[in-house]
Structures are given as structure tokens and as C-alpha cells.
Amino acid sequence: MNRRNFIGLTAAVATGGYAALKTSELGKEQNVTDGPPGKSAVAVLKATSYSADLVQPMLEGVRACGLNVRGKRVLLKPNLVEFDSATCINTDARVIAAAYEVMEKLGAAEILIGEGPGHRRDTYDLASEAQYFASVPDFERRFTDLNRDDVRPVSGFAEEATFYFPQTALRADLIVSLAKMKTHHWAGATLSMKNLFGLVPGSVYGWPKNKLHYIGIAESIVALNAQFRNTFAIVDGIIGMEGNGPIQGRPKQAGVLVMGGDVAAVDATCCRIMGIDPEKVDYLRLASQLGHIRPDRIEQRGETIQEVHTRFELIGAFERLRLA
């Protein structure tokens, strides 16, 4: 067993609160690669409040990134984790409603919504508390609890002989990862790529989906995004979360929506907005095989990072991730 395997195992037990992870030891061996040829477009749009018109900036951003959804079956995948009225853990319902309207305007053939929370079993109650039923058109009919959806096996996921995924996710032509801009006490940050943890069915892997932790958090994030390459990211950074995210942190207003078809580039851009160096984030270094995380390979549309830069507080173990 090499050092990296050792560290991966620590993370497996650590996740979910089992142990204090020696984060400073994590993944220094993975170098940032050049990624695919060319550059990736990432749109950063100012959106100062959830009460403002979110459809127009989202539409602008999506168009700026050249997304074509016409005739496609689209799955909107919010980040619904837990509910606490005192903070802002989940993708805001108004962001989901805006994304729904944008996809409709752009001619999507079918728009579905799905999520599989990692800890709580009553997904519908969480969705209700988070105002999803009240705010998102036709939510009840369009929503699938991905933890309890029918599944289909796939081979080759993260070197597993067989891995099961919800049929709703496998059948989607396009997944829109509607993530929340948050710090994360194991991964550093949780953005559009980690949001795909919610595609793993609890009915097979449990609550939490501990198998992913045993595969490795960074490795699982990248494997999920390699499995679901048909993903477009829209990150809700209007009010994000800093400190001890993804659940116990504090609300932090960044006033932005960040989007793009290269999820690694979107997450790297979010990190830079938050004052985190994406090249120091373990999963993003690994993700540089899939997309671009270097600034010279990302074509910024809309606002510049400097204009919207908002320093998010990090827990002590992750201060090492700060942008120089």
C-alpha cells in the first residue's frame, strides 16, 4: 500500500465525521495537466439578490457559453443537502425556478428535476422545507428522488466492476448541475462537480454514500463527472457558504452566478472568486484531465474575477488552499 492509498483510506473513514482528516497530506502527487485542447468558456454574471430577475442573467450566461438544449431531455440537479433556516445550505429554489424557465425558453423537450441527498432520507420533506414545491413550477410532477429511483448498472466507473446509477440520470441528454458555492470541510470546496454525488442512489449505497469515500472523494468527484460528461454547470453564488461548509458554515454573499459547459473550468473559476487556488484543490488537480483549470485556458465571459472576487473564510486545515 502506498502513501496515497493510505491517505485515501483516511478520508474514507473521515467523511461524515468519522475522523479528523490530515488534509495537509492530501494528494500532492497529482500534477495539473493541460487538459483537452483549446479553451473553455465560463460566464460570470452578477446577481445581487434572489429577488432580482435571475432568468435574464442566466439566459445571457448560458448563451455566452454556447449551450444548445433544443429538443433535449434536461435534468436539473440542485444541491439539496439538509435544511436549516438559519443558513443557506441548498441551491436556492429561485435559482432552480430560473433555470427551469431558461431551459424552457431555449427549447428543451423535457425538463426534469432530481436529487439524492447524502444524509437525510426524507428527500421530499427537505425539498418542501427548502421551498422547492412552492417556488418551482410543477415541482411535484417533475421531481425524482434519485436515492430511490430505479437503477441500471454501468461498468468501468472508478475501476468498479459494476456501479449503479439512477435511470433518470442515465437517460438525461443533459444534466444541469445547479450547485451552491460553498466551502467543504473535506474537499476544500463543493461546487458543480461534487454536486454529482447526489446522482449516486442511496438505495444501493446508503446514507451517506460511503462507497464514494472509500473510492476517494477526489477520485469519486472526477469519476462521476467522467461518467456524466453531458453536464452543464450553473453555480449559485448569490449567497454561498464559507467556513465549515457544506452544512455548518456561514452565509457569504458573493452575488454571482457562474456557468459553463466545462465543469472543471467553472469550479476553478468559482474557487478563484472565493479566494481559493484551484490548483491546490485535490479534486480539481485530478479534474484537469477532464477540463481546464488554468486561467490561461479559461475564457472568462461577463464579469472578471477581480470585479466579483469575494474572499470566503476557510477552516484552518484549508488555509493552505489560499490564492497567493
Binding site: 461524515g16 479528523a20 420533506d125 430505479d150 437503477v151 449503479y164 438505495s203 444501493v204 455548518q248
Partner: protein
């Protein structure tokens, strides 16, 4: 006379049973063991359900694997935590001793991976520190991963039921271990969450549904469960989660309390597992099927 609430849910279950005999989590979906197990428990002992139960049990029996564990559903090939539910059903449905013994053995073979030698070496080398007490053998959702509250609760209940039929020292020891693990994972507020009361030394709160489950596993341990029972009463009064309310009502009734059940004539949710649990939780429901004997 059964009320509308009960009749609605019973009718939903009978109407949504799949051709293969099982139930999906939602109407029209493939059969899974979890909703099927709760539907069997909810419908058990009712004359008009006999044929339905026989078909359901034939399907569940067919899902037991040669190693004694149970598949999670028609689309999943490997054994998971639902082995505990399968074993619980063997104490209720016509089952062979061999099938029950194999299931008991499968549960006795299963332990949380946090107790493996690799982790112990890691701790010794200072590569990681496990915040939880890992001295007690408990159960994971899937083999090869860490142990958590819900699979441990169902395994403890299943083994207690098996133990009542055929006492065995190894089984008794694992039951005690499981109970101790559950006690060791109590949150600061006295209840339980998924199984992580702290993360990075910061306390994490309990969940109503997990608190109810914890109480189900700890039947007979009155001294240690005063605070969680008090919390369960409070949760029952305030939680909006129908799933949590159902588990809380079941747990409180098992602890000989009588939580008020709301008069509700609304149609049942299109959530089969929830409908089955609500039926079990009703004052006239089969909640006693979760009752276990104290292990000496």
C-alpha cells in the same frame, strides 16, 4: 372499524404491488426489498392480504443470495444492508431454518470497515485519527464500508428476532456490540443522526427519523434511553417530515407511549415505503412487529 387513513394506505399497497410480487419505492417502479419488506410488515395478519403477502414473500425468498445476504432489489445483484430486513421477515413468514441461519451468518460476517487493520495502522502512523469509538462491531450499508446507524439498527432488530427463535452466544454478543455502537454514536442532544455525532470536533445535531430508529434498536435499555425518548417526543410534536413522524410513532409505541395520531383523510402519498410505514405507525397498525425481546 378501520378508518379512512388506514384504508387508503392499505388500498394503495394492494393496488401498487408489482406483478413479480414486490413493491417499488413508487407506483409503477421496479421492486425493491426495502419497500417490499415494510409493505409485508404493514399488511401482515390481514385476511384480504394473504395472497398478496405470499407472492411478495416468494419474491423476497428468491432474492436471498447463496452467501445468505439479500439483494437490494430486482436491478441490484449484490447483497447489502437489506439482509437485515430479509432476516426480520424470516421470523414472520414461512421460512426454512437453513435460510434463516445463512442470513444470520451473513450478518455475523459483516462489520464496519473502520475497524480494519489498515485503519488501525494509519492511526498508529499518525496519518489519520478516527473521532468515533470504533471498538464495537456494527454494520455498514454495503460490505467494505464504514458502519452507520440505520443498517446497525435493522441488523440488531433482525438478530434479536432470530435470537428469540434459536439462542446463540455469538448472536447475543453481536447484538450487544451493535447496541453499544449505537449508544456510542449519540449526538450531544441525546438523539442520533446518520452516525456521525461530531466532525472535526464540532458537534452535529440529531435527526428525528434516526433518533426513532436508535430507540427501536435499544428496546429494553431504559436507563440509557431517557434523553432520546424525551427528544423523540419533542421531535414528534414539531417535525414536518412524514417519514420521521412515522418512525417516531412506531418507536414511541414500542416504548409503550401513545403519541396522538392526527385525523387525516387526505389521499396517501404516492410513496409506497412511506405509506407502509404510516400504516405500521397507526395505533391499529402492526408496529408491534418491530418489538424485540430483551437479550439476557
Amino acid at each position: 372499524m378501520a378508518d379512512v387513513y388506514v384504508e387508503n394506505r392499505r388500498a394503495l399497497l394492494l393496488r401498487t404491488q408489482n406483478v413479480d410480487g414486490g413493491w417499488g419505492y413508487f407506483p409503477g417502479k421496479s421492486s425493491w426489498l426495502e419497500p417490499t419488506a415494510y409493505a409485508i410488515l404493514a399488511l401482515h395478519g390481514q385476511g384480504q392480504s394473504a395472497d398478496s403477502l405470499a407472492r411478495a414473500w416468494r419474491l423476497v425468498e428468491s432474492w436471498q443470495l447463496p452467501n445468505g445476504s439479500w439483494r437490494a432489489g430486482s436491478q441490484v445483484q449484490d447483497g447489502t444492508w437489506v439482509t437485515a430486513l430479509g432476516l426480520t421477515l424470516t421470523s414472520l413468514m414461512p421460512s426454512s431454518d437453513a435460510a434463516r441461519s445463512k442470513a444470520v451468518d451473513a450478518l455475523l460476517r459483516t462489520d464496519g470497515a473502520e475497524r480494519c487493520t489498515k485503519f488501525r495502522i494509519m492511526e498508529l502512523l499518525g496519518l489519520g485519527h478516527i473521532e468515533e469509538d470504533t471498538s464495537h462491531a456494527a454494520w455498514p450499508w454495503r460490505p467494505g464500508t464504514s458502519s452507520w446507524i440505520e443498517p446497525t439498527v435493522h441488523s440488531v432488530i433482525a438478530l434479536k428476532k432470530a435470537q428469540a427463535l434459536r439462542p446463540n452466544l455469538d448472536v447475543a454478543n453481536r447484538i450487544r456490540e451493535g447496541e453499544e455502537m449505537i449508544l456510542s454514536r449519540r449526538c450531544a442532544d441525546g438523539g442520533w443522526n446518520h452516525g456521525a455525532p461530531v466532525a472535526l470536533k464540532i458537534p452535529i445535531g440529531s435527526y428525528p427519523e434516526s433518533t426513532a430508529l436508535g430507540l427501536l434498536a435499544l428496546q429494553g435499555r431504559g436507563k440509557e434511553t431517557g434523553a432520546p425518548r424525551e427528544l423523540a417526543r419533542r421531535y414528534y410534536a414539531i417535525t414536518k417530515s412524514p417519514l420521521a413522524r412515522a418512525w417516531l410513532a412506531i418507536a414511541l409505541r414500542i416504548w409503550d407511549e401513545h403519541p396522538e395520531f392526527p385525523v387525516d383523510n387526505a389521499p396517501p402519498p404516492g410513496d409506497i415505503m412511506l405509506a407502509a410505514l404510516q400504516l405500521l405507525a397507526h395505533p391499529e397498525g402492526n408496529h408491534d412487529l418491530f418489538r424485540t425481546r430483551e437479550i439476557a
